[in-house]
Structures are given as C-alpha cells and as structure tokens.
Symmetry: D5
Subunit: 149 residues, 10 copies
C-alpha cells in the first residue's frame, strides 16, 4: 500500500539512482521545464494523466504510484523548518538577510501586495564567469495587490 | 547611546517616513544598486566611510549612527524563524516547496557544492505582462564546489 | 520617534479605549467594510492618504503616525505562532482539524491550486438562531491554479 | 493490527486513489455534507454505525477499520504546528493577519466570548467570477459568551 | 499611555503588594467568586462598568485602566508554552499524563464532543486531611457534542 | 518484541475496539476507579501483578505485555507539547488562562507551595443541567509547602 | 513601580556587585542555608517578613521590594528552556544523560513514584581532591509514591 | 541489522522485563556501581569487552549487540528537550529553579568555572525518614576553572 | 529499496562494528584525509565512482548503496537542532560562547565577510600534554568578502 | 542601574565604535590573547581586578561596570539557538555537518570522552593563499575521558 506521495518520491529517487536518469532527460520526455518536472517528481506538483504515465515508465513505477502522481500533494519538501543542508540553507539565508529588502523594493515599485508563489516560475542555469561560474536563477511571480473592500 | 545596528535601522526607517525618501533615490546618491543599498540601510550590509556619510546626511543621522553603518552587522532581518509577513513568507514557501528541486538541479549541472549567498547579487524589477505585471527577480551566486582533501 | 507600525497600533488601541470609538463607526468614516478597516487600524493593511488622515483625526494621531499608516506594514498580528487567546485559537483549531479537508475539497472542485489570502475578503456578521445566535463568517478568495511551465 | 485512526485514514486515502472515488459521492452515500464527510474520512469526525459501514463498503475497509470509524478520534490533521502546504498555509495566514480583527469585531457585536469550533459548520463552494472564479467558504459557529460566576 | 491589558495587570499586582489586599476581599467587593474575580484582575476576564470602577477604587487605578478592564482581553496568562513555575506546571503535567484518559472517559459517558472552557466555572478550596490538607478543585464545563451536518 | 509500554497501550486500544469493552467495566474488574484504571491502561500508571493479569485476560494480552504493565512507565500521553485535540486542548487552555489565578488562590489559602500531581486523584462525572449536561471534574491534590532549610 | 519579582532580583544583583556582599554572609544574616537563601535572593523562594527586612537592609532595597520578597514568586530562573551557560548546561546534560537511569534506580528501590522537588534540600560544598578539587552536591527529596485510587 | 545503540537498549529493556533482572544484580555482575552500570545498559556509557560480554550473557544479547556496547554512544536518553515524565521532570525543575543559585555558589566558592559532567559520579540511595523516606543523591564533579590565555 | 543516504550510513556503521574497521584505515584505502573520509561515510560528502567502490568493498555494501555514495547528500548529521551528545554539544557551546568573538576578530582582520564552510578543511589530532593530552583541531576556510554591487 | 553583564557589553560596543578601538589593541593593553580578551569584552569571560580597570579606562566605563567585569557572567552570546548571522551560522553548519565525524575521530584516537570547552583555547589568524586568503582557526581542548565508577 502506498500511503502518501512521499512514498512515491522515495520510489522515484531510488529508481533514479538505479537507472542513472537525469532530471533534464525526464523533463524532455514530458516536454516541460526541468524545474517544474523535478519539483513534480519530488512530490511538489501534480502531473496530468499522460505526464504521469510517462514518468511511470521512465522510473518503472507501479500503477498505484502513477495514480498518486495525478493528485494534489501535501507540499513542503524539507525535513525541518530551518533547512540543515548548506545549499538549501543559503536560500533560507537569502530570505533572512534580504527579506525586508525584498519587501521594501516590491512595495516601492508596485505598492502593497505580494509576489505570487503559485502563478510563479523559476529558471536555474549556469552563468559562465572567469572568476568561477555562477548559478543564475530567475524567479518570476505575478504581483498580487492588496485591495481594500 | 546606540546599542547596536538595529537602533540605526529604526532611525533610518522613521526618517524615511518623515522625509518621504525612496530607496531608489538613496541608491542613486551612493551610486549602488537599489537592492544592496536598501539591504545596507536595513542593517544587513556594511557601508564605506563615504557612503555612510552620504546616508547620514540623507536621513539626518547623528555621527554615532554613521559610525555604526561602517561596522559589520549581526545579520538576519526577520523577527521569527518562519516569517509571518505574506510577501516574505512566499519566499520562505519557495524554499520549502522548491528546496530539494534547486539542490537536485544545481547538483546535476555543477556537481556537489553550493550557490554562494555571499558572492551574490540580486536584481528585482517589474516584468510587464498583459495578465498582470510580474515581479522578476534575478539571483546570481558563485558556485562553490565541495572538494575532497 | 515611532519605530514601526506596531507603535501606531498601540496608539490607536489606547485612543479607542479613551475615546470610546467603535470599529463600525471608524469604517463608516472611511467608507469601507468594518473587516478591512479594523485590520488596517490593527496594523495589517495600508491606508490611502485620505483614509489615513481621517483615521488620524478620529484617533487623534500625530502626523508621523498618519504617515506610517500609508506604508506597507510587516504583517502578522499575533504574539505567538500558536495563539493563546481562546477566540483566535478556535480559528487555529479549525485550520488544524479541517485543514486537510479544505485542501481535498478545493482540489476536487477546482484542481490543484490555492485559495488566495490576498485577493481576498471577509465578512463577519450575526446569524440569529433560536438556540443561541451564531457568528457567520464568509470568506472569499480567488482560486489560483498551479500551472506547469 | 490497526493501532489508531491514522492507519484508517491512510487506508481510505489509498483506496480513494485506487477506486477513483470523489468526496462528493461519498458524502451522498452517507447523506451528509461533503465537508463533514470528508473531515470524517480524514480522521477528524466520528461516524455512526450505519455511516461507518457504508464508508467501509465504499473504500473496501476491513471490519476492524469500520469499528475505529465509530470511535472519537484524537483530532488534528496536520504534520506540523505551522502548515507547509501553501493551500493550508493561506488559512493559517488569514488567522495570523486577521486574528486580532476577528476578535475585535466579534467582541464589538456580541460582547466577550468566542465563536464555537464544535457547534460549527462549514460550507465550501465555487463562486463564479469573470476575473477568475473564487472559493467561497461560509463558517458558522455558535457564539459562546464568557459569563461571570 | 496604557498600551494593553498587561499594563493594567502589572498595576494591579503592584498595588496589591503595596495595599496588602487579598483576592477574597476583592471578590467580596464585586460580589463574585474569588476564582473569576482573580482571573479578571490578572487580565483574563472582562468586568462590567460597575465592577471595573470598584476594582479601580480598591487598587487606585487611573480612569484609563478602568476603561481597559471593560474590554475583552487577549487571553493567556503564562510567559511560555510550557510553564516553568512548579505549581502551574503540575497542572500542565495533569493534562500531559491524564489527557488521553480524560478524553476516553468523557467520550464514554457523553459521546464525541468536548468539555467547554468558556461555559465553565472553577472552585478552589481547602480539603482538610489528617495526612496533610489537600487542594480540592472542582471544574464544571458544559458538554458540547460534535454533530454531523 | 515489545520495546516499551507504548506498544502495550496500542495493543490495549486495538483490543478494546475489537472486543467492545468499556473503561467502566475494566475498572470494575480490577476494583479501582475508572480514572486511575483508564490512565493505567493508557500507559500512565503501574498495575500490581494481580491487576495486570486481570487486564491481560480482558484484553487478551501476551505474557510479555502483562509483565510490562507492572513496570513504572515513562509518563506523558500526548504527541505534542501543545495538544491539538480540541477536548484535551480545552484543558491546556484552562491552564493557560487560569494558571496565574490558580497560583494566586492556592498561595493565598495555603502559603507558598504546590498542589501535588502525585498524591492526587481525579473524578469525572456527568452533572445534569437543564441547559445542557455538564462535565464535572473534581481534582484533589495534597498541598506541599516550600519550607526553608 | 516594581512590576514583578524579577525587578527585585535585578536590584539585589546590582546591589551585591556594588556592596561586595557574599551569599554566605547573607545566609548567615538570615540564619538559613546558603543554598536556600541564594535561591530566595534570586527570586525563587519566599521570605518571611523578618527575613525580608534583613535582606532589604543588607541590599538597601526600598519597602516595596521588601514586600515583594514575601510573596510567592513565579519560579524558573533561566532565560531559555535549554540553558546556554556552560555551568548550568552541565546540569541539564546530567538530566539528559542520566535521566532514564535515575528513573530506573528510584523505581527499583522505592517502586513507582517521584523524588520531590518541593520537600527538597540541596547542599553544595568543596570536596578536596589531589587531582583537583571537586564540587560535591547532595540532593535530598522526599519519595512520593503513586497510589491507585 | 542493528542500526544504532538505541536498538541495543530496547533489547536490554525487553530482556530485563522477560528475565526479571534487577539493575543492582547486573551491576554486581560487572563489579561497578549501579548508577554507572544502569546508564551503560540504557545506552549512555561504553563497556569494556569483558563487561560487554557479561552484559550480553545476562540479557541474552547477540554478538552484534555485544560489539555495539563497546562503542562510544550518541548520548542523550530523553525523547524531548523538556522531559514529560514527572520523575525526570522534577530534575529538570531543579535545574530551572536552582540553576542560577548553583552557578552563584560554585562561583563564590571556586571562582569562574564549571562542575564537570564527565569527570563525574552519582550515587542514589534511600534516606530513612520518619515523615517518609527520602531519595538522597550525591553528585560529585571535578571543578574545571576558566583560565585566561 | 534504499530510500536515501541515511540508509547507507546505517549500513556502514553496522558493518564497521561487525568488521572492526577503523576510519583511519578506510581513509588510507581511498587515499584521503581521515576527516573528509569519515564525513563521507557518515553521509555528508560525495565520493567519486572509484572511491565509492573501494568503500563498498571495505564495508560489503550492495551496488545500490555504492551508487548512492556518488550522489550529493542532504547534509546535516544531527538528530536535533541543539545536539544532546556531550562531545558534540561542546562544539555547539563554543559557537554559542565564542560566536560573536569569532565574528569580531574575522571582521577586524579581513573586513566584512565570512569564513567558508565549503572551501574548507579540518584536521583533528592528538596534542601531547603533561597535564593531560589535548584534542587539537585546525579549521581552514577561505575568507569570502561581502562586496557591494 | 546596571542590571546584568549584557548592559556592560552594550556599553563596550558603543564605546568601541565611538573611540575607534581595535580588539587587538585592547588585548595588548591587558597582555592576553585577542581571542580571550574579545570574548571577555563581549561578556563571556571574567576579568581580574587589574584587567577590568584597564578595560574600564580604555572604554571609559563607570566603576559599576568595572565591578561587573570581575563577576562570572551568564554565558551564551547569541540571540537565537540557531544563529542567523551568516559568519556565525557557518560555524553552526560545521557542527551540524561534521558533528558525528568529530565524535568518531576523537573516539577512535582517545577512546570515549569529550574535548573540553573550558580547558580550551582558540587562535584565529590569516592564512595567506594565492587563491584567496583563508581564515585559520586552531582549537585546543583537553581530552576528558569518561571513566566507570
């Protein structure tokens, strides 16, 4: 019995190691960005029936797992509120150090509101640099204003 | 007596309200990006002597506060580990939902290592969109590999 | 010196006690719902210049406070992550007990996405009932779908 | 051996995926609202013998599970005090941002007391809207006054 | 400026020390139980205008404080989620050790529901005992059933 | 292998569901109060050899479980420091709201000390009431004074 | 205005530094052990009228402070649940490492029950040792058995 | 596969129940104090090869478990930072209430430093007393001074 | 199925006990420092294919485990945010006591920036000393300056 | 009134900014290492009378502050259990990532015991490096074995 989406994520991760797949190739197979596809495989997004079946074949998942991939998951990918993994912690640190700055600048440009994390996309790529290549991440989220009523 | 950098940040925020300054104009005055300048004014970065004096004049700060602006601050801008402000929480949510995805994709592209939050820059701008303008944020951090020794 | 919006909220609450104002009358004065107006007075919403000046007169606030009312506040009105006040705790309890139910039913009706807490309104009113009057609250939030990209 | 109600909830969720049931159809079968029925299936409410047997048939549960459905469960449906799932977090955010507002307005209308989360009902439905459909939720809880003694 | 009810509680406690009042005598003056009266003085209950004025005279409170006593307070009297004071901790311990027992026995007697903490009264008294006197506390709370809808 | 008392508690709860026993009947069988007996079955008290054997027969426990029932358990029956179950939370709320009141009144009556949670008994019963029956709980704990030395 | 016992503790600590008093001499003046006396001065015990007046004279406290010394304090002397000071942490560590051991051995010797922290005394002294003197602490607490009822 | 020392502790506890051993007899068999021996069996100390083999025979442990007993364990015997078991909590309470007192008195006698929890021993015994026997615990830890460098 | 790197770490630890390997000998076999090698075996570093195969042979790991050793792990080796094990806690204590000192001195010497924990190495060795041998640890981390942009 | 050592630390930090002192020069004035001296000025160590007077002159402290410098402080220099400042967090990260490694290697070299954080010294210096200078930190702590008793 598969009790929740977490079980499916574990199956995918174990199969990825065994089958030596890359996230880029999985993304190509479902014809979506590597960011969204990876998030989906890690239990954070919902696949369509067709996408789920493709994923199922690539990772050799049972039918039950393919069904779970099509259901809205309980999101949140980290084992603790403050992440311990250094790569992920650096992102937490950016939020901690720059959080009030981001708020001030979005407010100054757009007025009071938020940057959506739902109507949102992310792109991660290599930025060549002589002093050492950089990770370049573009985040794009719709501005949603607070309105009075 | 100014006990720590937090006191200077409060002075700056109060003066900003009173003097109706914008972060963009402050940034122009010190000839730096609005992102870095705002972070500095909010107590997260260290200004050079010249920059601090300019900031001091703009906000009408006492000499003691200008001196504090030149000293490495204890960083961290948020009052709680999990931010309650919706705009800032959305960023925490991105880390929570996409954290493992970001790790997988950086590892796939670069190998084992991190994206630096120190050798780092951020750019926040408006992305016009017919369905509603978007907030576009570009993060650039040097890739730092884990090496064996 | 007013250091942040919290100081303004305290001024408003103290003045409300002293001047025996009601939230309903304040709302009428700014011509908005009592829910949004109260949230604004309690430091959770941003007033326009005109609204802020009206609020300022009603509560007898200094100009500096009136300026702060027009600035996007750091939101979050509670002193602890799990509220201790019984009235507010009951709402936390509803989230705790019905949280997964709400998720299942919104997903079943709309697909994968969220109910916005920004493009959102709330209405609180008395529902007469022979067995004891009830509090009737209507929440309306725009559905925001997760889309693949 | 079924150790607690959580085990039954897992069985129901797994069977729902496998049998492609909807909460609405389950609710119809037991002749109750979809909100209460879903909460019950997710381990938050107690079913009568007859209801439990109907649920048991629909999901193909063993007798032992049917017995557990008739016993008052240890309530609380979330894995952490602050929910990580964005849909559920938005509700937590509403409590955080509007908590003191709700308290003020209920007190102004009813006097000192609470809105019951026990003598309580909830209704979730689609609110068609040209700018994008909305989730409309009606909460109704009995007002319970604090009395002196 | 009195910023919240907590300030009034501090005034009352300081005045009680100075004026050597007893809670029993305060209760008698407002003609209510010593339990409810003490809870009110400690910031947990709302007094009527007449009661508040009596309290105000007894403790020598300013008018502003008397006004605050008539407003529904943000409840919760303890400085930490798990109390450190041994007397109060023993009560937390009773909840921790007997919590599931209390739930089982109320459910067995009344069915699924709760014991109200709002429609509630408490009585604390001395129970003479040869082996050492005992504290006898009687709690009475209305049973509120969960009903389906 | 039974690793700790928690395993025995799970066996008892599962057997209780299966055998449709009541706590009152179990208490009668061991000739003790229903409160103490239930607490014992839920892993919070230590049974004598004879009592444990009776419990073992009623619930159909293996010898190993019967042995564990006679050993002082690691107490604490709740899965989190702040209980999420509404019935049990109401008790936590009573401690939170009335905690300082209880301390003041015990101190006023007895002097500085505590009410024991060890030399302690509890009685839960139905209190008929026309406006709805009430849960009446009597707690009796020995007063233990702080003495100087 | 002295708002609580904590204020008195701060006065005593400041006066002790200024007047260069030792705890041993204070204890002698009130004719009690240095352990109990120090705990009292640090806000954890209640002094009799006579003792409080002696303490008041030694530390030069105002009458209001002397009155507070005679009132049962809210106990707990540490600023965080897990102490950061190394000396005090070592005691927390002893509880963490030896906690289950202490429970097992008291249970083996006395049966199920606790060692009282109220009917309790402590003695701290120097234990000369050639390899470096040792701190010798004797704790004595009455055994309180759990009894069935 | 035994994954860590915790697994061995569970085996020992289960075997102790089954074989009705006492800690005192185990201590005698390895010729050490009952305090140290019990702590070792509960996963907090490291046994020599010979001691481990004796323990292994007494509890009927497999060779793998005997090997684990000779390896430095990850210490800490409690399931939560603040213990819920009343007997162990009383020790936490002593640290909480007397923590600053212990620090003051050790500092007054020895100067700035700590009492070691490593070069440490503990002795737990019965102290007969007409008013009820007492638990007498002697702790002895080497004083370690802070030195400047 | 191996679900994550933690499973591999458990296998390695169990095999180390059984095969009586030393970390020093494992390090020699992969021709790296004992510090890095041990961290890798404990799930904190990524091995090359060749290194992983050597590790696999030494510990008798299945192919699947050898594959996992070559994948960037989710780092963080401790079961709680504040470690309970005394040896590891001492390091946490050093960070707590000396944290601000380290920051001040690095800032004074290098300016505002950090000491990298990625471009980092550690060396642990015995420092003979007549008063008792010492643990000598050398940490070396690249200084990374904060630069304005 | 200076209430605790924290107040003295604030005075020192404010004076250091105003008088533009360096920690190195302060250390030279008291003839001790810069590490220990800085820790002392930041409220973590106890100065001798002579040292305290020198510190007092350098920073222009009142006599009361000089007296506080000679008293064992409540140690712990950070505002939260997990530090938010990136420089200090990197050290927390080293403990988190390398914690179990450090334990394994000290145990392998010395047997079961700890590295003292009291009989301890630290040295921070610049390590020139063509690829960017490094921070080199040497920690030396006495090994303290666990002994049986």
């Amino acid at each position: 019995m598969i009790a929740d989406r977490t079980d499916v994520t574990k199956m995918i991760l174990a199969a990825k190691v065994e089958r030596k797949l890359t996230w880029a190739s999985v993304a190509k197979a479902v014809n979506l960005s590597k960011e969204w596809t990876t998030a989906g495989c890690l239990g954070q997004m919902t696949f369509s029936k067709e996408q789920a079946e493709t994923i199922g074949k690539l990772f050799g998942l049972p039918d039950e797992a393919v069904a779970w991939l099509q259901i809205a998951p309980y999101r949140g990918s980290l084992p603790s509120a403050i992440p311990t993994d250094p790569l992920i912690y650096r992102w937490y640190e950016i939020v901690s150090v720059y959080g009030t700055t981001i708020k001030e600048l979005i407010s100054e440009e757009f007025g009071d509101g938020i940057m959506s994390a739902i109507d949102f996309s992310m792109n991660i790529e290599r930025e060549p640099d002589l002093k050492g290549d950089r990770v370049r991440v573009v985040l794009s989220g719709k501005f949603l204003p607070y309105n009075s009523y």
